[in-house]
């Protein structure tokens, strides 16, 4: 083929794949995608200079070296990160041994595959946008590489993607989804995870609270409960080592009775952290795909950290009745030595109060009245007696300090107690009609077991210190956490609020309908559209036929569309029509001379004009050089007048 003409097409391929791997700069060790981008750039330089390519003897050792680098950095060559790293390395080396069109086609195909890799890491609208840009670049490069349309290939690429978009949407909606994976891949343990951890120490939650990212979203069936009632439980911490509360799974099983309360049904969408998702206090039963662990905590069967959607039901405000054996009670009273002042205070309240509930009341009163402050930046607590230091000297803390201190006091007084972590509150989004819970809603509180009634009672000491934390959310109680506009550093002005809510709603819809479009949602849609009661072969076929017909409509439009006729052709048609008015039939094969001959019997003035027009037509039609558009338009105007005249004449005669 014409080799020199081919060069820009190869540049297009290089440009397209370079665009495709840009997002991987964020997800892989930075040096690797950067190295591959550099290699692509180098290849482009070689292309421009028509230089010789390095041989296999140079490339293979380099590839092995780079793969070894990946191994040292990631400790794996499979899985999400390892596989992606290996693939882009292969791409980087493949371009150095691409010479023929066929090689470049392989590079392009690899590019199409690579554009799926960033989606494994992130499925936000931005990823989708980048996917579209990648596809556009790849399609454009494909057109260039096919080589037939050197000009206008960008337009053709856009047109092709737009025409195939409806078909893609139909397939996306209709093609069956699997409820679970085909095979499970090893998890990347070093991937950083956010969210509440298995343990709690001073500072662990206040770190989380400063993040504004969304934790999960909830849609209630029916009336939503009051915000102050929304305690989302994730984890129970039942062991204290003097500084840190952690979960040692002290109880393997339990028999629980939930009494009273108001039934609330809701659908929750969120990314599980270590297979855990929060549930509203207290869950009635385990939602599908998970089990309830002791303490009524949800653990999902799958250990994937992709977003899931669960339908759950909780009895709000119910009594959590459980009979604890003596040894169980002892387990919930265990304390390490230390903090003598706190123990003394607990014993003092124990003496003053009649029962456990009285003790709780006494303790909450203490927190309320003794100048405790709710702050994100408490002084550091050092030494073995951290609880003493908090209760008697610093008196400043965040929810984890209060929960920890309260649980300590309760245990010191002989009351079984445990710390619960989770989220408290939610923010309603009126645009998307859902409730959003953010990382900043992370919270910790205490549950104490009352011997008299044999039930676990939730006690939120933070609420005693800062009541508005529970009623209005954390941002109202700590001014520095009020939502601010980035860069401007001030509060979000009122007029921006709807915009922010719309953005949240769009994110919610994206999560619900695009990222979270799974087998269950598909089944719902099939039922809604009346395509069938199950996603089986017949229903899919029906949906494909129905959707395919819809998706083909734009294609039909494209097929039937007549491109704008050249002005010369328009003019010729006008002349033919005009001569028809004069009673002269012109065949499509007739040239200007034939037309003139056939019009020989016309009156002289008409003939002269016709002859002049035809002469100009012939001059323009058979001249190869590009014509100035103005000249053609002027001629077309004359032809129009001529045709008008002919029509008029026919009407008169």
């Amino acid at each position: 083929m014409k080799h020199s003409l081919f060069r820009p097409a190869e540049m297009a391929v290089l440009l397209a794949v370079a665009l495709v791997i840009v997002p991987l700069l964020f997800y892989l060790p930075f040096w690797l995608p950067a190295l591959v981008e550099l290699m692509l750039l180098l290849r482009a330089c070689l292309l421009l200079r028509h230089s010789r390519l390095p041989g296999l003897a140079v490339l293979l050792p380099l590839l092995v070296l780079a793969a070894a680098g990946v191994w040292l950095n990631l400790n794996t060559l499979i899985g999400r990160e390892g596989g992606a790293a290996l693939l882009i390395l292969l791409l980087g080396f493949k371009v150095f041994e691409s010479r023929q069109q066929r090689d470049w086609q392989v590079v392009l195909a690899l590019g199409f595959f690579l554009s799926a890799i960033p989606l494994l890491f992130d499925q936000s609208p931005w990823s989708a946008l980048w996917l579209v840009i990648s596809l556009l670049a790849l399609t454009w490069a494909m057109l260039r590489l096919a080589g037939d349309i050197p000009s206008g290939s960008a337009r053709t690429a856009v047109q092709a993607l737009l025409l195939s978009l409806p078909l893609m949407l139909v397939l996306f909606v209709v093609m069956p989804r699997l409820p679970g994976p085909l095979w499970s891949m090893p998890h990347d343990s070093h991937t950083a995870q956010t969210g509440l951890s298995d343990s709690m120490e001073p500072g662990s939650i206040s770190q989380l609270v400063q993040r504004e990212d969304a934790a999960f979203s909830v849609v209630f069936a029916g009336q939503a409960p009051a915000v102050s009632q929304m305690y989302w439980r994730i984890m129970i911490l039942d062991d204290f080592d003097g500084r840190r509360w952690q979960n040692v799974h002290g109880l393997q099983q339990e028999t629980v009775q939930l009494q009273g309360g108001q039934l609330v049904r809701y659908r929750l969408t969120g990314k599980p952290v270590r297979s855990r998702l929060p549930l509203l206090e207290y869950p009635l039963q385990a939602p599908g795909g998970g089990v309830l662990e002791p303490g009524r905590l949800l653990r999902l069967a799958s250990d994937s950290d992709d977003a899931v959607r669960i339908d759950a039901a909780s009895l709000l405000g119910s009594h959590y009745r459980q009979s604890l054996s003596q040894s169980d009670q002892d387990f919930y009273r265990r304390l390490p030595p230390g903090n003598p002042a706190s123990r003394q205070l607990a014993m003092q309240w124990r003496m003053q109060s009649q029962d456990d509930a009285g003790f709780v009341h006494e303790a909450l009163l203490h927190f309320r009245l003794n100048g405790y402050r709710y702050t994100l930046t408490p002084p550091l607590l050092e030494g073995d007696n951290s609880t003493d230091a908090f209760l008697f000297s610093t008196r400043q803390g965040f929810c984890e300090h209060y929960a920890s201190a309260f649980a300590f006091l309760a245990r010191a007084a002989g009351i079984p107690a445990r710390v619960v972590t989770g989220y408290q509150g939610a923010q309603y989004n009126p645009v998307g009609r859902f409730w959003q819970v953010r990382s900043s809603d992370a919270h910790a509180w205490v549950e104490v077991w009352l011997k008299e009634s044999g039930e676990w009672l939730r006690v939120d000491p933070t609420a005693a210190v800062a009541p508005q934390r529970v009623s209005d959310g954390v941002s109202q109680s700590i001014p520095s956490l009020q939502p601010a506009v980035p860069l401007m550093g001030s509060r979000i002005p009122g007029w921006l609020l709807p915009l922010q809510q719309s953005w949240q709603a769009a994110g919610f819809a994206w999560q619900q309908w695009v990222v979270g479009y799974d087998a269950a949602r598909q089944l719902n849609l099939y039922r809604l559209l009346g395509l069938g009661e199950a996603v089986d072969a017949a229903a899919v076929l029906r949906a494909l036929l129905f959707g395919g017909a819809l998706g083909l409509l734009p294609l039909l439009w494209w097929w039937r569309r007549r491109p704008a006729m050249a002005p010369l052709q328009v003019g010729r048609n006008l002349l033919v029509a005009a001569l028809q008015c004069h009673g002269i039939a012109i065949l499509p094969s007739d040239g200007p001379l034939d037309m003139m001959n056939k019009a020989a019997h016309l009156p002289k003035d008409v003939r002269v004009l016709l002859k002049q027009l035809l002469k100009e037509y012939a001059a323009m039609r058979y001249r190869h050089a590009e014509l100035p558009a103005r000249q053609v338009q002027a001629w077309l105007g004359q032809v129009r007048r001529f045709a008008q005249q002919a029509r008029k004449q026919r009407r008169h005669s």
Binding site: Q123, S127, L131, M142, G147, D148, I149, A160, M565, A566
Partner: protein, 316 residues
């Protein structure tokens, strides 16, 4: 495998009707993915499996978009050929052993540009042409003439992979036209002089081609005689007459019987052909006598005589 494929193909070609004009329609356009198309299909399948396994919704979107693009490529490739009109034009007859041009024209009546490739197995010939919207283009397919007589135009594959190179649309056409292979001229000096029937005309010279006057066109006047400038200017068909139009003068007899019966047919025809060409070159009048026909001096005699030589077959 290969011989089988070849046999299958030749069987298929024999089944094709001969057509002087053919308009490509869905009944004769075939569509197959190219190697690149298959590769991309495999990529779409791989992305789909990945999407299934990792439950990545957007990857489903990517897989389905690639598949939709492939479907669209099928339509676009089909559109490259659909409605294309091909017709035969008179081929250029030539001598045995030479390459003849089989002339065709491609007519694109649609309002879109087309990228068309033509391919003929005979001669491994490939032609690419870019047809603008509403355009027409003449193409010649070279054909090696390896025996005397009529040669059918080769069966043509018309194909296009535009615009993506993913799908190949193709169609077969067996043009209903032939080119003639004239005998290969063999020098034959001695005989050439003998055949001259002396007339009483003046000896020939440069002056004989001198222009005399214009006369009305008569059937049989050669294209060389037509006054083209007149036609262009006045739109009148006129013929030029020369001072000494070779009429009624010496006529060379080029006869089959000039050669001994022992000489084989092809050699005889080759020598006759050479003498004929000599006469044409010198502008001499001649008569060709073949066992079955006689070609008298006339307009277009060269072509007729050569055709007679080419088609000459003797009951032996």
């Amino acid at each position: 495998m290969l011989p089988f494929r070849k046999r299958l193909r030749s069987w298929w070609w024999r089944r094709l009707p001969r057509e002087a004009v053919c308009r490509l329609s869905q009944r004769r356009i075939y569509l197959l993915p190219t190697r690149f198309g298959l590769l991309l299909l495999a990529v779409a399948a791989a992305v789909w499996v990945g999407a299934l396994n990792y439950a990545v919704s957007l990857a489903y979107g990517l897989a389905f978009w690639i598949i939709s693009l492939l479907l669209l490529a099928v339509l676009m490739a089909y559109r490259q050929l659909a409605g294309l009109q091909l017709q035969v034009e008179a081929g250029e007859n030539t001598f045995l052993g030479q390459v003849a041009n089989c002339r065709l024209s491609l007519i694109n009546q649609a309002g879109v540009e087309r990228q068309i490739h033509l391919w003929a197995e005979e001669g491994e010939c490939a032609v690419h042409c870019q047809l603008p919207a509403g355009g027409q283009q003449s193409v010649s397919i070279p054909l090696l003439l390896n025996r005397r007589g009529p040669h059918a135009y080769p069966v043509l594959q018309i194909w296009s992979t535009a615009p993506f190179g993913l799908i190949r649309a193709f169609s077969w056409w067996r043009p209903d036209a032939t080119v003639l292979a004239y005998p290969h001229p063999l020098p034959d000096r001695i005989r050439h002089a003998d055949g001259l029937q002396t007339g009483k005309g003046r000896s020939r010279g440069e002056g004989e081609e001198d222009f005399s006057h214009l006369a009305e066109y008569q059937a049989g006047d050669t294209p060389r005689q037509i006054a083209w400038s007149m036609l262009a200017r006045r739109d009148v068909l006129a013929s030029k007459r020369f001072v000494s139009q070779p009429r009624g003068h010496a006529v060379h007899e080029l006869a089959w019987q000039d050669y001994p019966a022992a000489l084989d047919v092809e050699t005889r025809l080759s020598r006759l052909c050479w003498r004929l060409l000599q006469c044409e070159k010198a502008g001499q009048r001649y008569r060709v006598r073949l066992p079955d026909t006689v070609i008298e001096p006339q307009a277009g005699q060269r072509e007729r005589a050569l055709a007679a030589l080419a088609n000459c077959s003797l009951p032996s």
